[in-house]
């Protein structure tokens, strides 16, 4: 019995010791050790990020950075618990639409005094506006995405349809017509994964100037007017009136419809432009795909919602953290990251580097051509937005697109939900 107990005690001590050691991690003496929480997940981007960090660590022995990967699907939750739990990383990777809440809760450091002038000048003001909360900047923009049409060029050629050019993009009406034309013989014109449709819907609303949130008497209200309803109407009608959208794909996430697209079940699909990377990796041999320039409503405007790097207020080494951020986001490195993720860099200089140095020149031209179309969207900087999006908007949009509720019900749910959460 004694032997058992003492063996057990030794084991427990070993386990506890091992656990403590495991937490320690590699540390250099007399160096500032920064943790960097990032949710990069595409293998190419992960490699690019690792290379950047390794190069930094080599050239800056007194400031060592350690990457802490975060699951891309639960970034908000993980950040919140780490902020509340006091275990947040020094440098935090998030997106502009998600940081207003954290800013208001005081978890993100004010970067305005810390940002070096060169970094400030690299990125256009319109993009800086997305991370500016009453003259308090709490994130540095990295890269942005647009929603584009990806098409199976073989099927289009068969039907005698010509691809749009950067100078002459398709309008939504043209897109609808083409989709209808290609919906024959059990196949569909479009596969559209609309499980998480909120970002898509709101971003594309800017084609008609739909800002969703407006400042009225000093309060931010939600209005679903004709401009906001336009894209919803188009989506709904394409699914249920034109019947040009594969109904089986509507409940799937954006990229989960790719197998149908590859199999030729649908001729086109609307995806975030970062899916070009997925196309390259997963498409079958000989599959002839192309990415089109953004579609045009009244304009080609899409909402700017860049990925961002922030510094947590609890960090003990804010200026060192900013040094790293400035390095990671210089033109060369920003281009590397953007190229890996097939996203559009926030800095035009980085954008030109990307266009010159990557394959699929045609698709990158289409992507970069969208840069002038980025506009500030009001909802990106509002504190109640993340909760409204997750709790109210996404379920309501899904109900509407599944024909469970009418447009009037949808508008009521959205506005009531916004008023309740905003308080």
């Amino acid at each position: 019995m004694k032997k058992f107990l003492s063996a057990g005690a030794v084991l427990v001590l070993c386990a506890a010791l091992a656990a403590a050691v495991a937490q320690a991690g590699p540390k250099k003496q007399n160096a500032v050790n920064l943790t960097f929480a990032t949710y990069v997940w595409q293998p190419t981007t992960v490699k690019a990020m690792n290379d950047i960090v390794a190069a930094w660590n080599k050239s800056h022995p007194s400031i060592q950075v350690q990457i802490v990967p975060v699951d891309v699907n639960s970034v908000h939750d993980k950040l919140l618990t780490s902020f509340v739990g006091g275990s947040a990383a020094d440098i935090v990777h998030d997106e502009a639409a998600d940081i207003p809440g954290f800013t208001q809760q005081g978890y993100l450091a004010n970067l305005t005094p810390l940002i070096p002038k060169t970094l400030k000048a690299e990125i256009p003001k319109s993009v800086w506006d997305t991370v500016n909360f009453g003259h308090k900047i709490t994130g540095v923009p990295i890269m942005l995405q647009t929603y584009n049409v990806f098409a199976n060029m073989d099927l289009l050629k068969q039907a005698g349809i010509k691809a749009p050019s950067v100078a002459g993009p398709w309008t939504w009406d043209k897109f609808r017509a083409v989709a209808k034309q290609l919906s024959t013989n059990g196949n569909y014109g479009v596969c559209w994964g609309l499980r998480s449709p909120t970002a898509t819907i709101q971003t594309l609303s800017l084609n008609w100037g739909g800002q969703w949130n407006y400042l009225e008497n000093g309060r931010w209200v939600l209005k679903v007017g004709p401009a906001e309803q336009k894209i919803l109407q188009i989506m709904h009608d394409m699914i249920y009136v034109d019947k040009s959208v594969d109904p089986a794909g509507v409940g799937l996430s954006g990229s989960a419809v790719l197998p149908s697209f590859f199999a030729g079940k649908c001729a086109m699909t609307i995806q975030g432009n970062y899916n070009a990377q997925g196309m390259i990796e997963q498409s079958p041999k000989g599959f002839n795909w192309a990415m089109f320039p953004p579609l045009k409503g009244d304009s080609q405007d899409q909402a700017a919602n860049p990925q961002t790097l922030s510094i947590s207020q609890q960090s003990q080494h804010k200026s060192e953290a900013m040094q790293f951020i400035a390095y990671a986001l210089n033109s060369q490195n920003m281009a590397k990251l953007a190229a890996g993720d097939w996203l559009i860099p926030a800095a035009p200089d980085a954008a030109s580097i990307v266009v010159k140095s990557t394959k699929h020149y045609g698709s990158w031209r289409a992507a970069i051509s969208a840069v002038p179309s980025f506009k500030k969207a009001n909802w990106v900087s509002l504190t109640p937005y993340p909760q409204w999006k997750a709790e109210v908007a996404t379920p309501a949009f899904r109900s509407y697109l599944s024909n469970q509720i009418s447009m009037d019900d949808l508008i009521k749910q959205l506005t009531d939900g916004w008023n309740r959460i905003r308080g």
Partner: protein
């Protein structure tokens, strides 16, 4: 095996041995309990008390944000919160359905396993497997099963020319909850089957034989002998299952995250979102308090059932 020392006292002193000689003194008992008592007080009872109290405060996330006592404001807000009402509705539907279906299936399996059939060992072992699997893995497994394009369920329906081969089960507004209930039933089979099997096997064969010679059919024997004998087990297992299922989190969270559109949002999932997505700790605790009230109702039912049992 330790040999027990034989009492060497003379016979006349044997009568002096009383039960009280072995009894633990209060002091001894306390000392022995302390290693377990301390962690329980610090990490279980104290937090639980505080958790209940938090339901009456406005505690939330934020650097240096103070917490104030706000009385029943949270509960007033809860009652008007359609999402809260929805989660409770889903919770009760889920708990009721899973418990009921699980009970019927487990009873059937328990009855079968007590018959002399070849290959029972396979069914018995398989019945225990869900216990050994973490809820996350069960969810992954069933996600693969329900996968609309590459999953076997839709493929089987397609080949059998049955309708529904296009449905994305876990994303469909009407089918997500039933699909998730099926998984819940699968997960809960072990505990219910084991309990019922033990109950069934403890019914003496004599009763059955006597009834059989009296000409009772299998169904009559089941109704008049098996069921009544099983009553205490049934009540205990069903109540426990109801409570466990109402509190369920892991499986549904991994399967659907409460979607589509709150269709499978169990109370615990709603509470998790409120607490760890939106940082509303006070509100989430109020929800927990409300769940406790419901669970207490289940407990009261069980106690009432047991009281009726013992008074028979």
């Amino acid at each position: 095996m330790t040999t027990v020392p034989q009492p060497r006292r003379p016979v006349m002193f044997r009568g002096a041995r009383t039960r009280a000689g072995v009894g633990l003194s209060g002091r001894e008992a306390l000392l022995l309990m302390i290693p377990a008592l301390l962690p329980v007080l610090v990490l279980s009872i104290a937090p639980l008390a505080r958790g209940i109290y938090l339901g009456f405060t406005d505690s939330r996330a934020g650097l240096g944000v103070p917490t104030h006592f706000i009385g029943i404001d949270n509960f007033r807000a809860l009652v008007h919160d359609s999402l809260f009402v929805n989660s409770f509705k889903i919770g009760l539907i889920w708990a009721g359905s899973v418990t009921a279906i699980q009970f019927v299936l487990a009873l059937g399996l328990a009855l079968l396993l007590s018959q002399p059939l070849h290959g029972r060992w396979l069914a018995r072992s398989l019945a225990l497997v869900p216990w050994a699997m973490p809820s996350v893995l069960v969810a992954i497994m069933w996600k693969l099963f329900f996968q609309p394009q590459a999953g076997i369920l839709n493929e089987a329906l397609y080949r059998a020319h049955l309708p529904g081969s296009n449905i994305d089960w876990l994303s469909d507004f009407s089918w997500a909850l039933p699909a998730v209930i099926l998984v819940g039933v699968w997960m809960g089979m072990p505990q219910t089957t084991v309990a019922l099997l033990a109950g069934v096997q403890s019914i003496s064969d004599d009763l059955h034989e006597a009834a059989a010679t009296d000409g009772a059919s299998a169904w009559q024997r089941f109704r008049t002998i098996t069921l009544p004998q099983l009553r205490p087990v049934i009540i205990a297992v069903t109540t426990l299952d109801l409570i466990w299922n109402f509190n369920s989190f892991g499986v549904v969270w991994v399967l659907t995250q409460g979607g589509p559109g709150h269709a499978t949002e169990l109370p615990m999932l709603f509470a998790y979102n409120e607490a760890f997505k939106y940082g509303q700790f006070g509100y989430a605790s109020a929800l927990g308090d409300a769940m406790v009230v419901v669970i207490s109702c289940f407990l009261v039912l069980w106690l009432w059932g047991r009281l009726k049992e013992t008074s028979r």
